[in-house]
């Protein structure tokens, strides 16, 4: 029997979390060591999966299946394809680094680390589960520890932020659940992703509309009375499940205008939660939107995404501009992550190989980048208790490793060649430009020419991101030291240095040799793209 790698990856943080819970609360050092060991195990296993993934074969690999509730079509089904194979590694890397930079957490460490590990476990499950029901459980399993961690260990305004964050994300997931349930009932009443996918292949694009507006239903009888409604139903072909799934998961990817939870939430959250949420959880949202939205219903996606792409453009520019004018470091990185996810969503909306590849690469490398930036902000804040960057100066002298990490993160964010952001952005914009030459499904005999305009607008982000990163870095790290207090901040410890170096190294490796990850993502993307072509 093959080794169940995926389950083992997920078990690492779960077992770690249970062990932590069983340990005496006094043994704070031991708790941290256990957490770190669990995450190191997860990193190694996730790396093994990435290396072991056979990209020439493609498709879903490392598959594990077990029946669970057969009568409802629910089963335990784990597998990764090229698109999702790097994502567990992303989660493991950011998770490990999150544990390492919270070594000074002395407030109820047992609960803190247990929740953190359960949160990480949930994300693993969400990335790898191909059963929609299990996926949704994992998804909710993530939201709960986030709430507790923000409300219990956060900084100013934490209860408001925790509530806002949880409710937004919960409503988003509710929308997605409703959408997925429609698919469940409309196809073969199986929660298995493959069954759903096959079921949809045999349906016409209007099947869901027909299902909802069938004469015997409430909507159907209303439509019989009001012709405008049936007309609306006709043009909105299958909008119900697709839009609800895409936008519902899009909330977690902070799609505009449903992004409001994100900056507030990140500002209040403790550092490791900001790292995981900004770097990995948002990626979960975007991943789910691709897997259960785009890949499940490619035809409907081709119909609707050319419209949704406008929202994503707003994301990129709006959040970028706000990041440029903010002074609170956590808000800056929070808005930046909204802007950065906008780029990912733009790539997804391009609906071609370049765009999806770019999005996949950006999910992985950009997630590490956001994790790095949040960890730096946390490191600085923990020492100085100052989050207004205009009041910080000359930190490069006391925290040189943090300064180098910031430069690498900032250059990756602005798309400097040699770091991970550049190949991803290049692919995303190429994808958008190529999408401009495809036929529109919504408007007959029209090219989706506005994608070119979207690309032109999106490219502005390279200027906007450069603007805030330069401004913040120059003031905080590379200015003349004025305030004595900052020059007396304690130096970084070995664990923090390792975390920064680790995440920076990922950005550099992906930037210099993008093929290392790209070839794997590409094998998954090519399979998806075949569905659009048909």
């Amino acid at each position: 029997m093959a080794i169940p790698f995926l389950t083992l990856i997920m078990l690492c943080p779960i077992v770690g979390g249970i062990v932590v819970l069983l340990m005496p609360a006094r043994n704070s050092e031991g708790i941290k060591v256990v957490s770190a060991v669990a995450m190191i195990g997860a990193v190694l296993l996730a790396l093994a999966v990435l290396i072991g993934y056979n990209k020439t074969l493609g498709g879903f690999q490392f598959e594990e299946r077990a029946p669970w509730i057969p009568t409802l079509g629910i089963g335990y089904h784990m597998a990764v394809d090229g698109f999702s194979a790097p994502l567990p590694l992303l989660n493991a890397i950011v998770g490990l680094c999150a544990v390492l930079v919270s070594w000074r957490q002395e407030d109820r460490p047992r609960e803190f680390f247990a929740f953190l590990l359960f949160l990480i476990a949930g994300v693993f499950g969400a990335f790898m589960s191909l059963d929609v029901f299990v996926f949704l459980i994992m998804y909710e399993l993530v939201l709960f520890p986030v709430y507790v961690l923000v409300a219990g260990w956060g900084s100013k305004n934490r209860e408001y932020a925790a509530m806002k964050l949880t409710i937004y994300l919960f409503l988003g997931s509710l929308a997605a659940i409703v959408g997925l349930l429609v698919v469940y009932f409309g196809t073969g009443r199986s929660f298995d992703f493959f069954d759903m996918q096959n079921g949809i292949k045999n349906l016409s694009p209007d099947a869901f509309t027909d299902l909802l507006f069938r004469p015997s239903s409430l909507l159907g009888s209303l439509a019989a009375r009001f012709p405008a409604l049936s007309e609306l139903a006709r043009i909105s072909r299958g909008w119900f499940p697709f839009l609800w799934i895409f936008v519902g998961f899009g909330v977690l990817a902070s799609i505009w205008p449903l992004h409001n939870w994100s900056p507030d939430g990140y500002a209040a959250a403790p550092t490791p939660v900001s790292m995981l949420h900004g770097g990995v959880l948002k990626a979960t949202g975007a991943y789910a939107a691709v897997r259960f939205g785009v890949q499940l219903m490619p035809d409907v996606a081709k119909y609707w995404l050319p419209i949704i792409v406008f929202l994503c453009l707003v994301n990129v520019l709006y959040a970028g501009l706000i990041a440029y004018r903010q002074k609170d470091l956590k808000y800056i990185i929070g808005f930046a992550s909204v802007s950065h996810l906008g780029l990912v969503l733009l790539g997804i909306c391009a609906l071609n190989a370049y765009g999806l590849n770019g999005a996949g690469l950006e999910l992985f490398a950009g997630g590490v980048m956001t994790g790095l930036m949040f960890s730096l902000v946390g490191i600085v804040y923990e020492r100085s208790h100052e989050r207004d960057y205009t009041k910080l100066d000359g930190l490069a002298k006391v925290l040189p490793v943090a300064a180098v990490g910031y430069v690498i993160g900032a250059l990756a964010a602005m798309g400097m060649p040699g770091l991970s952001g550049f190949p991803a952005e290049m692919l995303i914009f190429s994808g958008l430009w190529q999408a401009a030459q495809t036929q529109s499904l919504m408007f007959a005999n029209t090219l989706n020419w506005w994608y070119a305009a979207i690309a032109i607008g999106g490219v502005l982000s390279v200027v906007i991101t450069a603007a805030w990163t330069l401004r913040v870095g120059a003031k905080m790290f590379f200015s003349e030291p004025v305030t004595d207090a900052w020059q007396k901040l304690p130096a970084l410890d070995a664990r923090e240095k390792f975390a920064i170096a680790f995440m920076s190294a990922v950005l550099i490796i992906v930037g210099v040799q993008p093929n290392s990850v790209m070839s794997i993502i590409d094998s998954g993307v090519q399979a998806m793209v075949k569905a659009f072509a048909g």
Binding site: S430, W433, A452, Q526
Partner: protein, 742 residues
């Protein structure tokens, strides 16, 4: 891969190795100055030797048919790949030589010029990366590789312009340079994306020498820019990169401020690297631009006309502003802008060879002039320090021009408080203000002679300077358009003639103010010549400023007229000429040459009459100040910065500050509020989650939330199981709901 291709790969490598080595050593501890000098000089000399070997052995080859190079896949998606590769072809061959030589000389110069700076090692480290990036860019075989090095260079320029990071003006200048060029990069990136999606390759040779691809691009209508061909739009988008990097109007504003960096950096930026890269980019895509002529019944078509217009505009603006500047480096900075305008105008008139020629000669004499100005500043500062140490502390400068607070005129050395020379009066004395100089020809003879040679080359002094020959060819191209009755070319010809006259005038003004007459300050009177590390590069560059013209003197000139560069470059246009169907051959005429001679001498004579014959006395107003309002306008740099601030920066900041207030609070909340009024409780729930609720309802919502939070807290006991149970219940309820409506 043959040996030559391998050597080409290696040209930038020594500098990157030197950079890596120095960065690691500097990080690991202290990097002593002699070690830094040794590593950097070894790196740049190795690059020079490799470049010379490649240059010499490529001369024998037919590079147009078979460029030397190789590439490897860097980013593969599906069946297409982005490659990284190098090439030596006719276009970059002369640049391999020029860039490596200029960099070597600037490195040597820096070892002396920057020797007293405590961050010398860091300076040399950045310089290695800068030079390595430029060499990498020159040997790039495709647009993606080009862009990679292009961006790296942008980063280096940021680090080096802002090298004196504790000086606010330097920091501002660095950000300005980076951001302004990045606006150009944005267009370039779009151009790359467009070219890639239209052709599936970014390789220069595969696109620019390929008749079919050019044909296809010329005949395909462009996306969203209706009416233009894809070739035109791609060409102009990529040209946007040139506008940023080569400081063309309207993105020229960063270059004058970039002299906030140490003077060797200015020489790098103005001659060997940044601005040359921009024009080189346009030369790289020239066949694509050329092919757009296929569509044009008469005249030059949109792409060429836009480029020509921008070039002429830049030439004029640069020349005008240069007349009214007092800072020795600032005059040179605006002259660079103006000369780059000449090159771009040449490209816009289809004068491919002339643009490349002027780019090469300009690089030599502008490097010479900048290094010369650095030598002057160093000498004057030396005199000033000499004075400051001799005089009691707090000694006021009776004759020095005091720098206004908002001016960027401080030399790096002065404001850099940690360089060991901390005379109290120092920040008030401006060692770069030409009014504080005068009579330096006797104090600094080598600098004087070499600066004079550079100045004459810039002015286009007839026959014996390289600048004359290259500028003449550009004027020749404009004149040809004039004889063919093209209105735009007639205007460009007039503008360029006027700009060239101004160039000669302000150059003579600069030389006269700096070197002739009597010393107007004690500092200038005590200035001293610099050591050999600084004067040797001046000598070598002078040689090229005089004789580089030999590479492309028209064959109508007896004996020395070889047109080597023209013969090298013209074959690269073959494919595009086939697309057009007819060749737009350059016609030689002696008229523009006579015009060149006349205007060069005229400008120099007028300059001499005003500034040389009657040298400026201390504290005497400069004659150009008599222009009154016009002088102020030009001295304030035509107020471009102020205009951009008012038109772009302020509104953008306003949007960023108010967007969330108006859109988030006004529109999104407005929708939610409306939904609340109509839709009842669900909308109310959504709305109340928003932070910024309308004042009247906020209390109610707050209470609701407090209660909700309270009950939530009671529910959430911290047990995962309970939460899971509630999630399950929710799912079951929903299932039941759907089963029910079924």
């Amino acid at each position: 891969m043959d040996n030559l291709a391998l050597l080409t790969w290696l040209i930038p490598v020594p500098l990157f190795v030197a950079f890596g080595l120095m960065a690691l050593m500097a990080y690991g501890g202290r990097l002593p100055k002699p070690t830094a000098t040794a590593i950097a000089m070894t790196g740049v000399l190795a690059a020079l030797v490799l470049a010379l070997i490649v240059f010499a052995s490529s001369l024998r080859l037919n590079l147009n048919k078979q460029p030397v190079g190789s590439s490897f896949p860097w980013l593969a998606t599906g069946d297409t790949t982005f490659n990284i590769g190098v090439v030596v072809d006719p276009l970059n061959l002369p640049f391999v030589f020029m860039v490596s030589l200029a960099c070597t000389l600037i490195f040597l110069y820096s070892t002396s010029y920057m020797a007293n700076d405590p961050r010398y090692a860091r300076f040399m480290t950045y310089l290695c990366l800068f030079a390595g990036s430029m060499l990498g860019l020159v040997v790039s075989d495709n647009l993606l590789t080009f862009f990679v090095f292009w961006e790296l260079m942008g980063f280096c320029s940021y680090a080096l312009i802002g090298f004196f990071y504790n000086k606010p003006s330097a920091f501002k200048a660095a950000v300005k340079a980076f951001m302004t060029t990045r606006i150009g990069d944005m267009f370039l990136m779009l151009g790359i994306v467009y070219l890639w999606s239209a052709t599936g390759t970014l390789n220069f040779h595969a696109i620019m020498q390929n008749e079919d691809i050019l044909e296809h691009l010329v005949h395909e209508p462009a996306l969203i820019f209706g009416g233009l061909s894809a070739a035109t739009v791609i060409g102009l988008l990529i040209f946007g990169g040139t506008v940023g990097k080569s400081a063309q109007w309207p993105l020229h504003v960063w270059l004058p401020d970039a002299m906030e960096g140490p003077t060797p950096v200015s020489a790098m930026i103005h001659a060997a690297t940044m601005v040359s890269a921009g024009v080189l980019l346009s030369l790289r895509i020239f066949p694509l631009l050329n092919a757009t002529l296929a569509h044009v019944p008469s005249g030059m078509g949109t792409a060429f006309n836009v480029i020509g217009f921008i070039g002429a505009m830049t030439a004029l603006i640069g020349a005008l502003i240069a007349v009214a500047q007092f800072d020795i480096k600032r005059v040179l900075a605006y002259s660079t802008i103006s000369q780059l305008g000449f090159m771009v105008a040449a490209i816009g008139m289809g004068a491919y060879v002339a643009a490349a020629f002027h780019l090469l000669t300009h690089a030599f004499f502008k490097a010479l002039l900048f290094l010369g100005s650095g030598s002057v500043i160093h000498g004057v500062e030396h005199g000033h320090h000499h004075l400051a140490h001799a005089a009691p502390a707090g000694h006021a400068e009776p004759t020095g021009h005091v720098v206004p607070a908002d001016d960027h005129g401080h030399d790096a050395h002065d404001a850099h408080g940690t360089d060991g020379h901390d005379a109290p009066s120092e920040p008030e004395f401006d060692a770069q203000d030409m009014r504080n100089m005068g009579g330096l020809r006797t104090r600094m003879p080598v600098t004087f002679i070499t600066f004079l040679i550079g100045g004459l080359a810039l002015s286009g002094f007839p026959f014996i300077t390289a600048g004359f020959w290259s500028k003449d060819e550009i004027l020749g191209a404009a004149y040809q358009g004039l004889t063919e009755g093209q209105t735009l070319h007639t205007v460009i010809f007039a503008v360029l003639v006027f700009s060239a006259t101004l160039t000669a005038f302000y150059t003579m003004r600069q030389i006269a103010l700096t070197f002739f007459g009597v010393a107007r300050t004690e500092a200038a009177a005590n200035a001293a010549e610099n050591p050999w590390q600084m004067t040797l590069p001046l000598g070598v560059l002078s040689f090229f400023a005089l004789f580089a013209g030999l590479m492309n003197i028209p064959r109508q000139i007896p004996v020395i007229g070889t047109e080597w560069l023209g013969n090298l470059l013209e074959p690269t246009l073959e494919a595009s000429i086939k697309v057009i169907g007819h060749e737009h051959a350059a016609v030689f005429s002696f008229v523009p040459m006579i015009v060149s001679i006349v205007i060069g001498l005229l400008g120099l004579s007028v300059g001499w009459l005003i500034y040389g014959a009657k040298p400026l006395a201390a504290n005497q107003a400069d004659p150009v100040e008599k222009l009154g309002g016009l002088f102020t306008f030009l001295n304030r740099r035509m107020l471009w910065d102020e205009l951009y601030r008012a038109v772009f920066i302020m509104p953008l900041q306003w949007i960023a500050d108010n967007y969330s207030r108006i859109v988030d609070k006004g529109i999104i909340d407005g929708i939610l509020t409306g939904g609340y009024a109509i839709g009842g409780r669900f909308a109310g729930l959504l709305k109340s989650f928003d932070e910024r609720v309308v004042t009247g309802t906020s209390n109610k919502v707050g209470e609701f939330f407090r209660d909700l939070g309270q009950s939530g807290r009671e529910l959430q006991t911290g047990r995962v199981q309970e939460y899971l149970v509630s999630a399950l219940i929710a799912a079951v309820v929903m299932l039941a709901f759907f089963l029910f409506i079924q």
